[in-house]
């Protein structure tokens, strides 16, 4: 319980203003007119993203993820619907007001999109100039930002001389320059190696926690969703086909597509050879939340006369809440096994007999 409290506390600290809508999307439609007719990018999406939330979006290529996120700062003009950022409806703004609104919406791109002819410091200063900061302040702020993303020594270097991860850090610094309240990330880590990805995610997490910035991020990697998102939406054909707290979506995926995606993280294909090799009853047990840590299996093994053999399994911490799935072979008398299973059924989230004893 102490742990659970701490977890909640973490959230409370980071997301002080949680509960207010930071982004409200109403009936968003984005159509592209092309020679071959109208292509629908986003199809009547409604969603509210709260202050301090990290909102993930996953989906196949062409699902409309980029179209959606690009509508959030009006890089694409919505064909229909309204976007409210911090209560302000974007589509009704004048050009100048829109620019002012964009100062509060940072964006990070997969391919970084730095100005190649400008140094790292100049790239960041560019964003500050857009907000009309005085020159002196700009210098200070640039150095502050460079410290923050760990690139203080690269201020005078041109982007071409940076590694992918370093370029993305510059992108992040640029996006954060004007203290935005929203950060949009379109596949911000897809071009990076896993170790660099991890460091970028750490940075995003830190930003989210320390500055309370609302983050919307598109990714292809469920690992990223697991690691950093509070909520996740699965997109298909321009629609949000599933949407909810990451833990819920991982634990109880509703849609085929979602299951598909999640299987890349929580995948339990037993090699056929193994299954053939086992004689006992094979069960799949799913634990959720605090229960995972309560020694259910240990109790079961000690209470019933069965021998347990772990075939496959994993405990994932999703937002610091454990989610456990085990595939076990239970060997013993059929009554003992049946008792053990019914015991498990009582104490765990879900028990599924994959194959009865041979």
């Amino acid at each position: 319980m102490k742990g659970a409290f701490l977890i909640v506390k973490g959230h409370v600290e980071g997301l002080g203003e949680r509960g207010d809508a930071m982004i409200r999307v109403e009936n968003l439609v984005k159509e592209y007119k092309t020679k071959k007719g109208i292509i629908i990018g986003v199809d009547h999406v409604n969603v509210t993203i709260e202050k301090g939330e990290v909102f993930g979006i996953v989906g196949y290529s062409g699902a409309g993820k980029s179209s959606f996120i690009r509508c959030l700062n009006l890089l694409e003009t919505p064909s229909n619907g309204e976007i409210y950022i911090d209560g302000v409806g974007l589509t009704s703004l004048s050009k100048q007001e829109l620019r002012a609104a964009r100062l509060k919406i940072g964006m990070i791109f997969q391919h970084f999109y730095l100005i190649s002819a400008k140094t790292v410091a100049e790239n960041i200063a560019f964003a500050l100039k857009a907000a009309n900061h005085p020159r002196k302040e700009i210098n200070d702020r640039v150095h502050e930002l460079l410290e923050m993303v760990g690139l203080a020594d690269k201020a005078e270097v041109y982007p071409a001389q940076l590694s992918g991860g370093q370029k993305q850090r510059v992108g992040i610094a640029r996006a954060l320059a004007n203290n935005p309240s929203v950060l949009l990330c379109d596949e911000a880590t897809s071009a990076l190696d896993p170790s660099t990805t991890k460091s970028i995610l750490k940075l995003l997490k830190k930003i989210n926690k320390e500055l309370g910035i609302t983050i919307v991020l598109i990714t292809h990697e469920m690992e990223v969703v697991k690691e950093i998102c509070d909520r996740v939406a699965v997109m298909q054909d321009g629609k949000f086909v599933e949407e909810g707290p990451v833990y819920e979506v991982f634990a109880h995926p509703q849609e085929e597509l979602t299951k598909h995606f999640i299987s890349s993280v929580l995948q339990f294909d037993l090699p056929a050879a193994i299954v053939e090799h086992c004689a006992g009853t094979i069960v799949k047990i799913q634990f959720k939340g605090a229960v995972a840590g309560e020694g259910v299996i240990s109790d079961m093994l000690q209470q019933f006369n069965v021998k347990g053999n772990f075939l496959h399994g994993k405990i994932e911490y999703i937002q610091d809440i454990p989610l456990g799935i085990f595939i076990m072979e239970l060997q013993g008398s059929s009554s003992a096994v049946a008792d053990a299973i019914s015991y498990l059924e009582k104490r765990t989230e879900q028990v599924e007999v994959i194959r009865d004893a041979a």
Binding site: R102, L103, M107, F109, H111, A117, F126, K129, A130, N178
Partner: protein, 221 residues
């Protein structure tokens, strides 16, 4: 004898050389000052760009094509009143520079437009997303990013200007090309013609080389 002959022409060649530099220098400067904004305008007002203005784009595009369609000699003469009003004379290198500039402006504008089109659209979008004004985007994104291409384009324009400046003779503009024409074409003097052409070729090679180097230096990609 050809050597003597060449020596005898040296002062004139020297003068012509500086006339050429003077004419193409002025015209290049003017075409950069006027053509650069025009080229940017052609780009930023295009469909889907941040200052989309299809009408402006089409009108400017038409004018650019129009000037490019008029034979240079006609342009030269059609501009005489304008030239007189602008520089107070209708002859000599200064007057020739006016016509050369007018011819070079649309050419350079197209070259600039092409260079800017090479810029990754994503970089422009990133600038828009940051809340930058169109003016900031032009000055701090389009121009720096297209700089190597623009320098290459200026080199191309400069070399074309040198070729065109040979026609400055129509208004007594002088220059190396005109010298080649006056002696080689009107006076059938091949020695001088070859000498002057060698000077022209060297000049062009030097400019091309300088343009390549300079463009590489500013290229931070």
């Amino acid at each position: 004898m050809p050597l003597d002959h060449i020596v005898s022409i040296l002062p004139e060649l020297n003068k012509a050389f500086f006339e050429t530099l003077y004419m193409v220098g002025i015209s290049l400067t003017v075409s950069i000052i006027v053509g650069l904004p025009l080229g940017i305008l052609l780009f930023v007002t295009d469909r889907g760009l941040f200052l989309e203005q299809i009408l402006v784009k089409n009108v400017v595009g038409f004018i650019v094509n129009l000037v490019r369609s008029v034979p240079f000699i006609i342009l030269l003469v059609a501009l005489i009143p304008f030239t007189n009003w602008l520089v107070g004379t209708t002859i000599g290198p200064t007057a020739a520079s006016v016509a050369l500039s007018v011819a070079a402006i649309p050419f350079f504008a197209r070259v600039v437009e092409t260079s800017i089109r090479e810029i990754d659209k994503g970089v422009i979008e990133a600038a828009i997303a940051v809340g930058a004004t169109p003016w900031m985007i032009i000055r701090e994104v389009l121009l720096p990013e297209a700089r190597p291409g623009i320098i290459q384009g200026a080199t191309l324009t400069l070399i074309s200007l040198i070729a065109y400046s040979a026609m400055a003779g129509i208004v007594g503009g002088g220059g190396v090309g005109d010298l080649a024409i006056r002696y080689g074409y009107y006076r059938y003097d091949n020695t001088i013609m070859f000498t002057t052409i060698i000077v022209l070729v060297l000049l062009v090679q030097v400019i091309q080389l300088a343009g390549d180097i300079f463009s590489k230096i500013v290229d931070k990609r």
